[in-house]
Structures are given as structure tokens and as C-alpha cells.
């Protein structure tokens, strides 16, 4: 089939799934935070609040896009556009799975593979700060300006340890293309330990993984690094003056950035779509068991309903889950579904970590934030890079 047709189909699919994920990530975050704090979370719109994202989108779309007086209108409107565009572009180079053959058409589960994929992502993340900084400045409000200033200083500082943490696994995989990166992490040590870069010889990259994750929290302005929008100091930081879709654009950008950094962590450190242990030892059973188990649990709870409508919703959900689990057991579909499952599972676990930490940790003080980046994280990444470079130089022929 024509290259353009295949690309358009992939584009449409990725776009649809990505946008839905963005909307529902917000719902998941609210639910998880609520359960951490012993609350219910969104509950009124649809069963268990499942239609809440839709309601939010309609609300934000129909609200008045208010432009305050004395703002710099051009930059005020440019900032959310910049933020969301740059954040959404990154998904185009992220591979979700290996080469597949669908009805005679061979294609990669990826929109495009750049030879400099990881540099492209770094470039996007370094340009992405303009959205936030400009929003803070153009709003012509002191809270927004402080938020914008904090954000740009924070992003410059944390970009260094992040880049340094990225370099060490790159030395091991020896490529800048995101797809080849995952292909180099194939295989197992002693038949069971996956050759992901966090385990890979000659020097396991656990330290740089942790440094990367911490820097990623700062780059996406998440708790404990959410000083640009610290609500009890700065009202809402850089997006104080925004409303309607302009405000939604910043939120979309934040969640899209979260998905990008967790995908990069998965691809570079956690072996992308390679399973946790070899398929011969039954790693394909994991998705089946997970889905069937969650299906059984919801049916069990549906039989002893705590609320009247649980009698219908929980068994329906349970049957859906069991059906999904059984799809994973079909041998014919496994080459397509298993890589997608492992990629999504790893990325999802990291996203859960992001939300979990938001529910757990308090915010940094500003001087602590800077001291942490420059006096601890950066030297640590540098030492790790040095050791890795020595190990790689000694072991390569």
C-alpha cells in the first residue's frame, strides 16, 4: 500500500488515542489523588465519573476566552499555542512497537523514525519553556511573571542533569534513533534478566535513570518541582490570567509533556516494548492474568454492590476486562498486542509514579531547588557519565 496512505492512517490513530489519553490522564490523576487522600474523586458525571473529561472539555470550550486589560495581546495568545504545539509534536517520533505486518503491509508502530530522535526530543523540551515564560511575561501580572521567571530558571537548570543523564545510556546503546535504541536492548542475561539499559553491562544505568526521572519531574513542572504554579504562593503561577481554551492548552501541554518524558524513560532505560522476562517462560500470560483478574474482582464487587448502580456497571466493566484479557491470549494477535502492552504498561507505571509523588511529597523551597540541581544532581550525573564512559571504553574492542 502507498506510503502516504499508511502514514495518514497511523497519524489518525495516534492522534485519536493520544488525545483520548490526554483527557483521561486528567481523570486518572484526579481519581488516584482522591484515593490517596481517602476521597471519591469525580463521581457524578457518568459511571464513576468516567464522562468527566468530556464534561470538562465542553465546559472549557464554551467558556468565554477572557483577555485581561493591559496584557500584550499577541504574546498572550501566542504563549498557550506555543506550549501545546511543541508538547504535542514530540509524540511523532516515539516508537510504540516493532515492525509489524498487517494484511501484507509492513510498517513500524511509530509515526516517523529520525536518526536524531533523542536530540529532537531534547530540542523540543528546551524550546518548550517559551510557552510558559511568555505566558508569565505577557500576562502583565506579578504572580504570572514570577511563575514565568521561576519556570525558565528551573528549566535551564534541570536541562543540564537531564541531558547528562541521557548521555550515559546513549553511550551503551550507541545510537540516537529511538527505535534502534530499543532494538539494542533486546535479549536477556542468564536467560531471565532483561538487557535493558538499567541492567545492561558494562555499567547498569540505575543512577542515571533516577537522575533522569527527577529532572523529568522538574521539566514538566510537576510536584515537588511545581514552583512555577505554586498555588499557595502565586495563585496559579504563569497561567493565572488565562481562561477557557487558552487555559486548557497549558494543561494539555503539561500532560503531553508527562507522556513524552515517561515514554523516553521507557524507551531509553526500560527496554521499550521488550517484556520483563522471555516469552518462552510465559511473560505473555501477564496481560491475560492482569485483565482477567481485574475483571473477576469487579464482578465480585458487582455481586455485593455498595451502591445501587454498581449492580450493572461493575459486572459490565468486569466482562469487558475479561474479554480484553482473552484477546491477549489469541496467538494470532500476540505479535501486535504484546509489544503495545509492555510499552503502555511501563509508561503507565511511570505516569502512576508521577501522580503518586504528587500525592505524597511537599514542594521544594526555591533555593533548595536550585542547590539540588547544581550541587547534587548535576555532579552525580557527571560522575555517572564518567564511570560509564570508562566502562564502555574498556569493554569495546
Amino acid at each position: 500500500m502507498n506510503f502516504y496512505v499508511v502514514t495518514l492512517i497511523k497519524l489518525a490513530l495516534v492522534m485519536a488515542i493520544f488525545m483520548t489519553t490526554l483527557a483521561y490522564l486528567q481523570w486518572i490523576e484526579r481519581k488516584v489523588l482522591a484515593h490517596i487522600q481517602l476521597r471519591m474523586g469525580p463521581y457524578r458525571v457518568g459511571p464513576h465519573g468516567l464522562l468527566q473529561p468530556l464534561a470538562d472539555v465542553i465546559k472549557l470550550l464554551t467558556k468565554e476566552g477572557f483577555v485581561p486589560r493591559n496584557v500584550n495581546i499577541f504574546f498572550y495568545l501566542l504563549a498557550p499555542f506555543l506550549a501545546v504545539t511543541i508538547a504535542l509534536i514530540a509524540i511523532s517520533v516515539i516508537p510504540f512497537g516493532p515492525k509489524v505486518n498487517i494484511g501484507g503491509v509492513e510498517t513500524y508502530l511509530q509515526m516517523t523514525d529520525l536518526k536524531i530522535g533523542i536530540l529532537f526530543i531534547l530540542a523540543l523540551s528546551s524550546v518548550g519553556v517559551y510557552g510558559v515564560a511568555l505566558a508569565g511575561w505577557a500576562s502583565n501580572s506579578k504572580y504570572a511573571l514570577l511563575g514565568g521567571l521561576r519556570s525558565s530558571a528551573q528549566m535551564i537548570s534541570y536541562e543540564l542533569p537531564m541531558a547528562m543523564a541521557l548521555v550515559s545510556p546513549l553511550l551503551i546503546v550507541n545510537t540516537l534513533s529511538l527505535r534502534e535504541m530499543v532494538e539494542r536492548q533486546d535479549g536477556y542475561y542468564f536467560g531471565f534478566l532483561p538487557a535493558w539499559t538499567i541492567f545492561q553491562a558494562p555499567f547498569p544505568q540505575i543512577i542515571s535513570f533516577i537522575v533522569f526521572l527527577i529532572a523529568a519531574f522538574a521539566e514538566t513542572n510537576r510536584v515537588p518541582f511545581d514552583l512555577p504554579e505554586a498555588e499557595n504562593e502565586l495563585v496559579a503561577g504563569f497561567h493565572t490570567e488565562y481562561s477557557s481554551m487558552n487555559f486548557a492548552a497549558f494543561f494539555m501541554a503539561e500532560y503531553a509533556n508527562m507522556i513524552t518524558v515517561t515514554s523516553i524513560a521507557t524507551l531509553l532505560f526500560l527496554g521499550g516494548w521488550h517484556p520483563l522476562w522471555p516469552v518462552e517462560y510465559g511473560s505473555w500470560l501477564i496481560p491475560v492474568l492482569l485483565f482477567v483478574l481485574s475483571g473477576i474482582i469487579s464482578i465480585f464487587h458487582g455481586l455485593q454492590p455498595a451502591r445501587p448502580f454498581d449492580r450493572i456497571t461493575l459486572p459490565a466493566f468486569g466482562i469487558l476486562m475479561i474479554g480484553l484479557g482473552l484477546i491477549f491470549a489469541v496467538p494470532f494477535l500476540q505479535p501486535y498486542l504484546l509489544p503495545l502492552f509492555w510499552f503502555t504498561a511501563k509508561t503507565g507505571a511511570l505516569l502512576f509514579l508521577f501522580i503518586w509523588i504528587r500525592g505524597t511529597l511537599p514542594r521544594f523551597r526555591y533555593d533548595q531547588l536550585m542547590a539540588f540541581a547544581w550541587k547534587f544532581l548535576f555532579p552525580l550525573a557527571l560522575i555517572n557519565l564518567l564511570v560509564t564512559a570508562f566502562a564502555v571504553a574498556l569493554t569495546t574492542k
Partner: protein
């Protein structure tokens, strides 16, 4: 489906136009932030031009280092100092009237000199340059150009020490 016409010249024209327009805007704008953003536009368009020529690593470095790190610092400083828009000073009437003709004459002179003095070279063709990958650049940096590379890094190190010494004095 007939093959698409080559996109390279079209993309080149688009991004060259963006680069030139941003450069003009950089000079014309009165507000420092607008000027800085125009400069980012120039750098982004230049990165695309590098990419068209096959120098993908340089393109990425251009975006990361110049459009990313350095310009963020510029914008940060402008925002921190809260520099306002510059007022147009009273300019001599002479400059207003003969400025553009003299500038055009200067450009024409330069173009003429380049045309007549410099040896004729082959024009650039898109896609002919294939040694712009990170691998090739790394290899030539660490073998053929090792000494200049190391000297540059020492220079930058000196600049860092200088910055620290200057900053220390004020505490």
C-alpha cells in the same frame, strides 16, 4: 499516484523567507522580548536549512543550544530586568532619507565583490552532503580536529572560572 515534486526547494524558500523576515523583525521591533523572539525565529529557520542540507546534528545542536539554552537565558534576563519598549529617538532627517539607498548600494557592492573576486564554485545541491550525522561529526571532532576542540573547551572553562570569580566578588 504520480511522484510528488521535490519538496527541498519549496521548503528552502519557505524557511529562507522566514529567516529573513524574522531577521528584519529583529531589527525593527522596539520591544526587547519581541526582538529576542524574532531571533529565535531566525535560529529555528536556520536549523531547518541545516536539516535540508543534510547536517542533521548541527540542526539539532542549533535548536538545543541557541534556540533553547542561550535564548531562554536572554529572555530570562529581559524579563527579570523588566525592560520596556524602547522609544524611537529623534533621528537625523538625512539618515531617514538616504539610509535605505545607501544600504542597498552597500549590499550591491558586496554582491559584486563576491561575484568578481571569489573563485566560481559549484552550487549547493540538496541531499549531496551525507557526512552530517552525529557519528561522522563525532569521529572528525575527536580525530582530525581534536586540538581545536580541546582548546575550545579550555576556553569555555576559563570563561566559567571568570564568571565564578566575578560573581564571588559581589557577595
Amino acid at each position: 499516484m504520480p511522484p510528488l515534486p521535490p519538496l527541498d526547494p519549496i521548503l528552502f524558500l519557505i524557511f529562507a523567507a522566514i529567516a529573513v523576515l524574522s531577521a528584519v523583525s529583529l531589527v525593527v521591533q522596539t520591544h526587547p522580548i519581541a526582538s529576542a523572539l524574532s531571533l529565535i525565529g531566525v535560529m529555528g529557520a536556520l536549523a531547518v536549512l541545516y536539516l535540508l542540507l543534510g547536517a542533521e546534528f548541527i540542526a539539532a545542536a542549533q535548536l538545543i543550544v541557541y534556540a533553547g539554552a542561550i535564548m531562554v537565558l536572554f529572555i530570562f534576563v529581559i524579563m527579570l530586568l523588566n525592560a520596556g519598549a524602547e522609544r524611537r529617538g529623534g533621528r537625523a532627517r538625512l539618515a531617514k532619507w538616504i539610509g535605505i539607498p545607501v544600504f542597498a548600494a552597500f549590499i550591491a557592492l558586496i554582491a559584486f565583490l563576491i561575484q568578481s573576486r571569489l573563485p566560481q564554485t559549484q552550487g549547493v545541491t540538496f541531499g549531496s552532503f551525507t557526512t552530517g550525522t552525529a557519528l561522522e561529526i563525532g569521529r572528525s571532532l575527536f580525530t582530525q580536529y581534536l586540538l581545536p576542540f580541546e582548546l575550545t573547551s579550555v576556553l569555555i572553562l576559563i570563561a566559567i572560572f571568570g564568571a565564578i570569580v566575578l560573581a564571588r566578588k559581589e557577595i
